[in-house]
Symmetry: C2
Subunit: 346 residues, 2 copies
DNA sequence: GTGAAAGCGCTAACAA
DNA sequence: TTGTTAGCGCTTTCAC
């Protein structure tokens, strides 16, 4: 059995309450020499307060739950890493769980977090925000998704606008037949990026039919398959336009890695035969061959903002919900056509 | 205030104990109609048992702590993802934390896990295994590192042997001046991979001096820098051998991504000018240009084995420690020279 | 088959 | 300044 507070009290010749007062610096003052006796006893016995008991008594669990679709995608990976780091600095521990896009998992995991009295929740794919799980939640919740009307605070990237601006950049290079690789449908973000592509194409009078869209699995493989589908001579979903798309908008860097590989296999030169712009701005985007032009979303900043805001809400219950939207920046690499000869060094 | 067990008991017209009997299917039987009344009350009130209270009373926390050096490296990312998935299936939640190689973080985080009464711990970088934190731990601990003498169970990849076999493959292709990119030094794994390269080179009478080694940061950037250092005409750490290394052994896939990029920038053809073999077998390795030849370590299997074993130890306290070592498989891509013309499709 | 009651280790109000 | 004590919500033994 572990050392308890009573053991310390006995060893120091004081009451258990005094031990608490020393540990928590309050709520009552403790005489200096008593405090020292207590600290000595703690040290000697190797006493560690029982976090569970403290949490039950009404304190906090010093824990935040983080719900993401998955972990292996670099976007969510980087997000989780930075959130975890920031929270750790603040003395919180992070409980993570992945939904893999299943709404049922989402509700179940959310409920598990709630049952464990996490002090706060950060949710990335908020399909079940209106579901039963979140109604009447007592902890602070932050949603990383655009929901201006939500009673919960939201913090999001401008996925639709960012996508539109990425597509615009391809249009500026003279492309009008622009394919779109997005997916998987369960990630709401991808829906917005798809809209961004579609709206930008429509607004500027360019084609935006489903024949130009390939829904892909997350991951390199998904992008590889999708690019193969959109670009190869077999199948030719673009047949109605009489020519192959000259550019691809790819909704995530990782999928773009796969798409680049597909181009390489098909013998298509990037950006000469096929230009390519993706979204994400992951670390790896600088190191593809050639380096990706990508709409960089500052995940680290997003993560830190989320933590800051969440901790504020935890410390100050009853704050009105905040809604913040962050905008991406285009990082120009070699796949869009800006630097076809690989001159630019970044 | 949330609904408590007493509320349910009152609503169902039974005592709180009966509610527990129903919820836990024991330890005492409950009459069918009573059970139904209780379940109805639970349903109606939306009662959820308080996990904290249950844990305090002596049950388990249904939580496992996972300590890794970081999260963004795909190896640890994939490991964590699979561990989390497996544990979730078994009804456990995963607490994750990253040490970033700092021993002090490691001890502190370990202690935090212990304070929270996690049912088990999975530790990847076990520098502090002998430290104070782990002495007298009551929960089950699994170490993902080679420690045959450890009183804790260990599960590891054969990093040294795998590295040696990767280097051997380059030697088979006729290379003898083989550079080595490893890092960062705080990851014990990298030390072993470095040894693997050195021993294999020595054993076969080939050079293994420090001039052929580049210590690199984790990540693409690290591999990029290191390859630049080892291959460029400036600096020429290989000057003593009169020629540039014709092959590189890279300790991780991600670093290899950077190294490939460096070759591309330097105008060196892979594998003709520089052959390359890395370790990891991450998903992305299939999609580089050209695809990597890499010593694949089956992280998913490692993760699942770890969970299985850990849960066994949790359920059966007092099991003697097990020590398992897994071996990698070379996945042949195009960077080693096996298929210089890109003929092979995998 | 069910209820009463003793704690798990802690915090904090209250008493001294 | 310090000690006493009442719970937090739950599990489980023991008595009925």
């Amino acid at each position: 059995m572990a050392v308890t507070r009573s053991d310390v009290a006995r060893a120091a010749g004081v009451s258990p309450a005094v031990v608490s007062y020393v540990l928590n610096n309050g709520p009552r003052p403790v005489a200096t020499h008593t405090r020292e006796r207590v600290l000595a006893a703690i040290d000697e016995l190797g006493y560690r307060p029982n976090a569970i008991a403290s949490a039950l008594r009404g304190g906090s669990t010093q824990t935040v739950g983080l719900l993401t679709p998955n972990r292996s995608n670099p976007f969510y990976g980087a997000l989780a890493e930075e959130i975890e780091r920031t929270l750790t600095e603040q003395g919180y521990l992070t409980l993570t769980a992945s939904t893999y896009g299943y709404r049922s998992s989402e509700e179940r995991l959310l409920q598990t977090f709630i049952d464990r009295q996490t002090d706060g929740l950060i949710i990335t794919s908020g399909v079940s925000l209106s579901g039963p799980a979140l109604s009447g939640v007592e902890q602070s919740v932050l949603v990383l998704e655009e929901r201006p009307e939500s009673p919960l605070s939201t913090l999001s990237m401008d996925d639709e606008g960012d996508a539109a601006r990425a597509v615009d950049h391809l249009q500026v290079h003279g492309h009008d037949l622009i394919g779109c690789i997005v997916g998987p449908p369960y990630v709401s973000t991808d829906g917005l990026r798809l809209s961004g592509w579609r709206e930008q194409q429509r607004r500027t009078g360019r084609p935006a039919s489903d024949g130009l869209v390939a829904l892909a699995d997350a991951g390199e493989e998904g992008g590889y398959q999708a690019a193969g589908l959109l670009l190869s001579e077999h199948g030719r979903p673009w047949a109605v336009y009489g020519r192959r798309p000259t550019a691809l908008f790819v909704a995530s860097d990782v999928q773009a890695f796969g798409a680049l590989h597909a181009c390489w296999e098909l013998g298509l030169r990037v950006p000469d035969d096929v230009a390519l712009v993706s979204m994400g701005g992951t670390r790896g985007a600088r190191f593809t061959i050639p380096p990706l032009t990508t709409m960089r979303q500052d995940v680290e900043y997003l993560a830190r903002s989320a933590c800051t805001r969440l901790l504020e809400e935890i410390r100050t219950p009853g704050l009105p919900p905040a809604h913040v939207r962050l905008t991406g920046n285009l990082v120009v690499g070699h796949t869009c056509g800006c630097s076809p000869y690989g001159v630019i060094r970044r």
